[in-house]
Symmetry: C2
């Protein structure tokens, strides 16, 4: 009797304040921003909402209810409304949310509207290439400006319109291209060294795709994406079913 799980994602161990908002008294003016800092899980879902709204907008859907939005995403309607309520009041009673308007508001809140982010990729192997090829990044304004690799075979090659540079150039290139975000897609052994280089060169946020824990100073945002964990934990449930 296993049930389908809906969205596996995002687990955080130590709390971290999201905003310095006073969180004092509730606002009353209509359309005002939310009162409390948004939970991390909710921020993560923001990109899901944006994706779905982009899709709906391209289908010329004008309004969408929390129920319908939830259905598409595998969430509950209450959760959608709660999530959105952290950022403001976007809906109309009886009608739902205006797709284009909500899309625009959410992209602004997510920080991916009317601006671009400069991204550097360390490791141009299969995983790195997959990341370069992911179309969603460009759509959201994440621009790959730099890709490096240690493998002389790969250096000089062009992947997705970007020329792979030598790993030794990383600090130089990060500074030259004003990189804000670094992606680590190198083997476990070199992940920490690459991470240190990124940090020293001024990168403020890092996503680590290597299955190791990395150390960074507290001024840097670090996220981990572990490709294997979901598969590995499936064995546990499979072994216990039928």
């Amino acid at each position: 009797m296993p049930r389908t799980n809906d969205r596996s994602n995002h687990r955080i161990t130590s709390a971290r304040p999201t905003e310095t908002a006073p969180s004092s008294l509730s606002r009353k003016c209509r359309g005002a921003a939310a009162t409390r800092p948004a939970p991390e899980a909710c921020v993560a879902r923001l990109s899901l909402y944006v994706r779905e709204l982009t899709r709906l907008a391209s289908q010329r859907v004008g309004f969408v209810s929390s129920r319908r939005l939830a259905g598409q995403l595998g969430l509950t309607d209450a959760q959608v409304r709660r999530d959105l309520s952290y950022f403001g009041q976007f809906g109309t009673s009886g009608r739902g949310y205006e797709v284009q308007r909500l899309h625009d508001r959410l992209t602004t809140i997510l920080g991916v509207s009317g601006r671009t982010w400069h991204v550097a990729l360390a490791g141009a192997g299969n995983l790195g290439s997959a990341l370069l090829a992911y179309r969603g990044f460009r759509e959201r304004g994440f621009l790959f400006k730099v890709a490096v690799d240690t493998d002389p075979q790969k250096v000089g090659r062009t992947v997705q319109g970007l020329t792979v540079a030598s790993a030794s150039q990383l600090p130089l290139l990060v500074r030259r291209h004003d990189i804000q975000i670094g992606l680590i897609a190198v083997p476990v052994e070199s992940a920490q060294a690459v991470c240190d280089q990124l940090v020293e060169s001024g990168v403020r946020a890092i996503v680590n795709f290597a299955p190791v824990r990395l150390e960074v100073p507290s001024s840097v945002w670090l996220r981990v994406v572990d490709l294997a964990i979901e598969l590995e934990s499936l064995a546990f449930y499979l072994a216990r079913t039928k």
Copy 2:
């Protein structure tokens, strides 16, 4: 003042019972199994523990304390002890946990000891190739028996010692190789169709790497790994720092 987050992972929306354990009265016999079903977050961390223990064993470390294990993984000592306590009592007061023994016990519990799982990969692009190349899977007994792709360019090629078959062969190959787990690394457009094929062919667990929600019958375990979400949510925090 951003803080480093430690482990991003795994968020579940609907609860699902993990065991049918009675959860009635506490056992008293030493070394007995835990009383309550293990939380999903804790099951996901099981593979982290196994990885670290494998590393420690290879360094001939005999004992490890919850504190040290936690430090390596970016968790707290209390959490490590709590997690392990769901599965039994493995430690020795004043000494800690015997590395090899704990490793063996956890791999058994995870369902990756003394047996293998047969895995099929749909989509042999960059991401699919990265998954085929991941060494951890083989180490844990996950064997890729099948890889398919729709691209005639890719069919017939050998990736990591496995020959890519035509996508039309998927149902046949799944049955022939007694596949239990399917990995979906195809574009969004074809993800649901591939998923349906896997399900109809008898696959009982699926990991979806495409950024869409998939529908499966409730008898099938479904997990999602979203490569983009962590990066996208970083913009939110970056836009709010300094």
